[in-house]
Amino acid sequence: MQGVIDFLVSLNIPYVNASVARYIVLQVLAAIVAVAAPAGLIILTWLERKIIARIQDRLGPNRAGPFGLLQAIADMVKMFTKEDITPAKADRLVYNIAPGLGMFAAIMAFAVIPFAPGFAGTQMNVGLLYIVAIGGLGTLAILMAGWASNNKYALLGAFRAVAMLLTYEIPMVMTLVMVAVVAGSMSMVDVVEAQSGMWFVVSMPVAFLIFFLSGVAEVGRSPFDLVEAESEIIAGFHTEYSGIKFGMIMIAEYVHMFALSFFTAVLFLGGWQIPFIDVAALPAPFAAILGLISLLVKVFFFVFVMMWLRGTLPRFRIDHLLDFGWKFLVPLTLVLLIGVAFVIRLFAPGSSVGIPVAAGPLSGLGMPGQVVALLVTNLLVLGLALVVVSSAARRTRSKALRAVSAVDSPVPTAGK
């Protein structure tokens, strides 16, 4: 980015000094992000339809344009030209604000992503929390939409959605804390740089899985799509929306999904890093292009995984879903967080800045030791959790069995 700024300054355009050039570059980057994020929808919907069709042994869209590539554009035209019905009983203002707010929240999430070495809109040192904070706006938009529609299905859908979003936000935040612990910083740029030695997906596979799972739930996609379970509550919180406002809700959902893929790639798969190649050390234009391509490959991998999940898995039931979140993921992440913090502290180098702190007892083992220790911790915690869960399940099952047999034979069999 600095290179582009220097180039602009070197052109000697009147008025363009270093600070103007910086603003221009930032503004252009912002414009690209703000337009590209929703425009990615065109590719995403096409991909989704094609992939789901493949899974279901169909062809998918194949009429509009070559391979149906223009299908999404046809859809957009349709959305724009459909009549937009506002229910007479709706709370008009809130009803109209909600889709816009959802879209705003989804696009704003892109602000903190480092796209390539040196190409990040901001190096904000609270980047990880920013993701969570902006996600909260999306939750609010869903609640507003469901409420303002004045429709029972919409309200019920909104309640379900919000309960689910809140439930899965906690494991997500806790995995973000783990990332911050290992990277020693909350800035996304620092997180990517901390992964130059080893991607976090290798050292913390369980944290990665939890993050991705709860992320899919946050986006509200299948198998966590009971937000809009068609067969149960029509379409959930956007039952009453039609025309472009429905389109905006859809755009928000896809942008959100896109953003989640970006976050997963940046936080756990090293962002723009490529294994065995030091991207940042390459000459500037190559570094930027190669970095961006590397990031996009990872992003589309996760997009594909999400579509795959949608094509294969049935929907959760709401009580199972909430139980899974509260009774499994939350305790698991808390225990895992304690373990990760402990390992990192043991391997921490000493510091003499401010209050002098002694090095951790294992700091001599260096980076490889830390990676192995983190991996072992992750697997141990997961193993422990599975043992606990399976024993609990066995207990419940045998209790249920006993209850059944007690009903079958009211007279208990005497003695052994």
Partner: protein, 180 residues
């Protein structure tokens, strides 16, 4: 072009402009909270006000506070309040939300405001020109587990007590609960 030759966009008074926009959000939202007739709208105005305060924190170089404001107030407390609003009866009834003493409250509020402003104006604040250090988050962490260790632990006790108390209160069983 009307631009002077030494035009520098970094000289645009961006900070005051953002300040006034955020003031519009904060104070406007606050007035909405206390004057809106529908309780649900009050809750949404409250969100607007919180959002403005988050903007203030950014201007005050407290990025962490800004994000925490968004995350805790908008993402959690506002949702909780809106849930509670939905729980109460006739949340959308457009009836006056003010009680009988509102005419007393108004002058009281104005007097309070004037007194506060006069106080603010009469004190010579020992403003220091220093810039904050870059990484406030790290400082916060060191403070919480160093000189503020006891508040830190007390906070967790407070939170778990609040959680337990609130669950006991919210779970009081009542017949005829709708199960939808």
């Amino acid at each position: 072009m009307f631009m002077p030759s030494n035009f520098d966009p970094s000289q645009i008074p961006l900070v005051p402009i953002v300040f006034w926009i955020m003031t519009l959000f904060t104070v406007g939202g606050a007035i909405g909270v206390v004057s809106s007739k529908k309780l649900f709208h009050s809750g949404l105005y409250l969100v607007l006000s919180f959002f403005g305060v988050a903007g203030y924190y950014v201007l005050l170089s407290a990025g962490f506070m800004a994000v925490v404001q968004l995350m805790v107030y908008v993402g959690a407390i506002a949702i909780l309040i809106l849930f509670a609003v939905m729980f109460s009866r006739r949340p959308m009834a457009a009836e006056s939300q003010a009680n009988r003493q509102w005419w007393l409250g108004l002058p009281l509020m104005l007097v309070l405001f004037v007194v506060l402003v006069v106080t603010v104006g009469s004190v010579a604040w020992p403003v220091s020109g220093a810039e904050p250090t870059a990484d406030t988050v790290q400082q916060l962490g060191v403070a919480f587990l160093g000189s503020y260790l006891i508040p830190f632990e007390v906070v967790s006790v407070l939170l778990s007590v609040a959680l337990i108390g609130a669950i006991i209160l919210a779970r009081g069983k009542v017949e005829g609960e709708e199960t939808n």
